[in-house]
């Protein structure tokens, strides 16, 4: 099965073929014989040319993976053939819709913009408080505010849409 890793605006192909004790993987044209033992859901022991890796993989949202390794967590954006089809229908890679979402659950303590207002990249939009810390969410590009979805005092879940834009607003 073939997947694509999205990195630095490139689509890197990775192809997996099952074999008795793991996979043959071809990553960006390089072939790896990968011994793979599944310990628990998402927890694997990989052996690649003798080197041992314990990796825990977790996915918060489709196509986005945190790969925990001893020396660090890697974030991998990876698309399946199906994802790729869907993505080509809904727009190019990198755009996630013109909105700013709550990066964590919390409470809206301040709304800094109003509907119809033009904002500049880096301008503060909403302040959300969680764990005794206030966090100002900023525009990641110049845009025009279309809707403000929250009011001061609202509790919001992680991922909740806070502000949407009418202009060109690149995803984070």
């Amino acid at each position: 099965m073939r997947f694509w890793i999205i990195r630095d605006e490139r689509q890197i192909p990775v192809e997996l073929e099952e074999r008795p004790e793991g996979y043959t993987a071809v990553l960006d044209g390089v072939t790896y014989e990968v011994g793979c033992a599944r310990i628990l859901d998402g927890l694997y022991s990989l052996l690649m040319e003798g080197e041992s890796y314990e990796v825990a993989v977790h996915s918060h949202e489709p196509g986005s993976y945190d790969v925990h390794m001893y020396d660090g967590v890697r974030h991998v954006d990876l698309l399946s053939p199906l994802d790729l089809v869907l993505r080509s229908q809904h727009g190019g890679p990198g755009t996630r819709g013109g909105s700013v979402r709550a990066p964590m659950p919390g409470k809206v303590v301040k709304v800094l913009v109003e509907e119809g207002q033009s904002v500049l990249k880096g301008q503060g939009l909403v302040v959300v408080e969680a764990m005794k810390m206030q966090n100002e969410l900023q525009a990641t590009a110049d845009a025009v505010v279309q809707h403000v979805r929250v009011r001061e005092g609202d509790s919001v879940e992680s991922g909740a849409e806070l502000v949407t834009f009418g202009g060109a607003q690149e995803g984070d």
Binding site: M1, F3, I5, R7, I12, V14, L16, Y23, A25, L27, V30, Y32, V34, C36, R38, L40, G42, L43, Y44, L46, M48, E51, Y53, V55, A56, V57, H58, S59, Y65, D66, V67, H68, M69, Y70, D71, G72, V73, R74, H75, V76, L78, S80, P103, M104, P105, G106, A130, M131, K132, M133, N135, S158
Partner: protein, 495 residues
């Protein structure tokens, strides 16, 4: 003899206190907010009672609920941990009034040290060094020059009315002071409508070093050595160690004696910490006293072999200290890394949420004090610190190497943590060299975006394997939908 203690706290410190109580054969009582029903401190305790809704003000800060629970379950003492009510003099008084022992200092000592300016005054009177300076405004460049002669250079000129860096000038040499005074004064006048300026010795690249003390109710007070806590981010300690790479035995004795003097000056009892601002030459100045157990107390325990919570309980029982100053001996080195649920890639945004899985480090010379568990909730209502990793080594290099190993084994999956940031700190050449000061993190890490682990073929392939296996799973194994309730069915027209 105390045989039951209520712990008025949560998280790793509640768990740590519970373990000390179990070691002592004392029954433990946990209290919890509605958000913490499944928390580890509830499950490890002998008894557990709910004290209110999630917000701290209604639960962990709710004195009435805590005291009535203590009385109802027959606890003779309350241990407040750190944070919450631990430095609340009023709570200490209320405990006393209700006939419940407060495992901590007398209310007066908390109060004396709680008002920072009064504490500084008290300390100066007791002969504890404070940052030298004038405090009162200077009326001329000549007066500033004279004052600087007394304090020594470099000095800092500060607007008496001010803050936020306005009207401040760092002066390195005598030749600069007159013009700096005029500049500072005019800037202060513009900014605050008041041109008054005072002067303080400037501590350049200061280190934060603190001294642990123990005092009983019989007039005994000893020091247990220092901790270096210079690795801070926004005044939040991140990595601590004991001893300090800067401190010599002579400096330790001198800091220790000063700390004991400071504690005696306020009639201190229990475990406490005197925080010092230390310049790179080793000269130290009183900053403040923390009248409670510190987050980082474990590093002192690792090098001295003394259980600080056990000592607190004994002191609260009225026993004299079981140790004399000469019994305190530092062996080897200890470090602590604080694991926060936060995202170093997104300006250290706190990351509440559900922990998918936890793996804790094990093996020689590793201690973990943790409240994290698989499927545990990191609540948005409380502090994002979820665990402490503490390591020991026969020397500083061995200790740092073991910290590196322990952090590599540490894993929280499902939410972001600062683990990789901690790994970057303990492997930084300046950290390894012991070249520490409170500017370490802002200087070496931008403070906004942290280095990202470089791509690895194994990671890319692992993600692909996971995606492949997930795509093959039968839809049947997805969590079953809860049956719609009668109410919901009614709303849906019972389709």
């Amino acid at each position: 003899m105390i045989n039951k203690v209520l712990i008025a706290n949560r998280g790793e410190i509640a768990v740590r206190i519970l373990r000390a109580l179990r070691d002592m054969g004392i029954a433990s009582v946990a209290v919890y907010s509605e958000a913490d029903r499944a928390a580890r401190h509830v499950r490890l305790a002998d008894e557990a009672y709910c004290i209110g809704p999630p917000p701290s003000a209604q639960s962990y800060l709710n004195m009435d609920a805590i005291l009535s629970t203590a009385k109802a379950c027959g606890a003779q003492a309350v241990h407040p941990g750190y944070g919450f009510l631990s430095e609340n003099a009023h709570f200490a008084e209320r405990c006393e009034k209700e006939g419940i022992l407060f495992v901590g200092p007398p209310a007066d000592a908390i109060r004396a040290m709680g008002e920072k300016t009064r504490a500084r005054q008290l300390m100066a009177e007791a002969g504890v060094p404070v940052v030298p300076g004038t405090l009162a405004p200077l009326d001329s460049p000549e007066a500033a020059e004279a004052a600087a002669e007394t304090t020594g250079y470099p000095v800092m000129l500060k607007a008496a009315a001010g803050g936020g860096g306005k009207g401040m000038r760092l002066v390195e040499r005598r030749a600069q002071i007159a013009s700096a005074f005029r500049d500072a004064s005019s800037e202060a006048l513009k900014a605050f409508g008041d041109g008054s300026v005072y002067l303080e010795r400037a501590v350049v690249r200061p280190r934060h070093i603190e001294m642990q003390i123990l005092a009983d109710g019989h007039g005994n007070c000893i020091y247990l050595g220092e901790r270096e806590c210079s690795i801070q981010r926004r005044h939040q300690k991140v990595v601590e160690e004991a001893p300090s790479p800067l401190v010599t035995p002579a400096m330790r004795a001198s800091m220790g004696e000063v700390a004991v003097r400071a504690a005696r000056a306020v009639g201190y009892r229990s475990a406490g910490t005197i925080e010092f601002l230390v310049d790179q030459s080793g000269e130290f100045f009183f900053m403040e006293m923390n009248t409670r157990l510190q987050v980082e107390h474990a590093v002192t325990e690792m090098v001295t072999g003394i259980d600080l919570v056990r000592e607190q309980i004994h002191i609260a029982e009225g026993e004299p200290l079981s140790l004399r100053q000469e019994d305190v001996e530092i062996r080897g080195w200890a470090m602590e890394c604080r694991i926060y649920a936060e995202d170093p890639q997104r300006n250290f945004l706190p990351c509440p949420g559900t922990i998918h899985a936890v793996r804790l480090p094990e093996g020689p010379n590793v201690r973990v004090d943790s409240a994290a568990f698989t499927r545990g909730e990191i609540s948005m209502f409380y502090d994002p610190m979820v665990a402490k990793v503490i390591t020991w080594g026969s020397d500083r290099d061995a200790c740092a190497a073991t910290m590196n190993r322990a952090l590599m084994e540490f894993q929280i999956v499902g939410t972001h943590t600062n683990r990789d940031f901690l790994l970057a700190i303990v492997n930084h050449p300046d950290f390894k060299a012991g070249a520490l000061d409170t500017g370490f993190i802002p200087r070496h890490f931008s403070g906004v975006s942290m280095p990202v682990s470089s791509p690895a073929a194994a990671a890319d392939i692992a993600a692909a394997i996971y995606a492949y296996e997930s795509s093959r799973k039968q839809p049947c194994t997805a969590p079953p939908q809860a049956a719609p309730s009668a109410w919901r069915r009614a709303m849906m027209g019972d389709r």
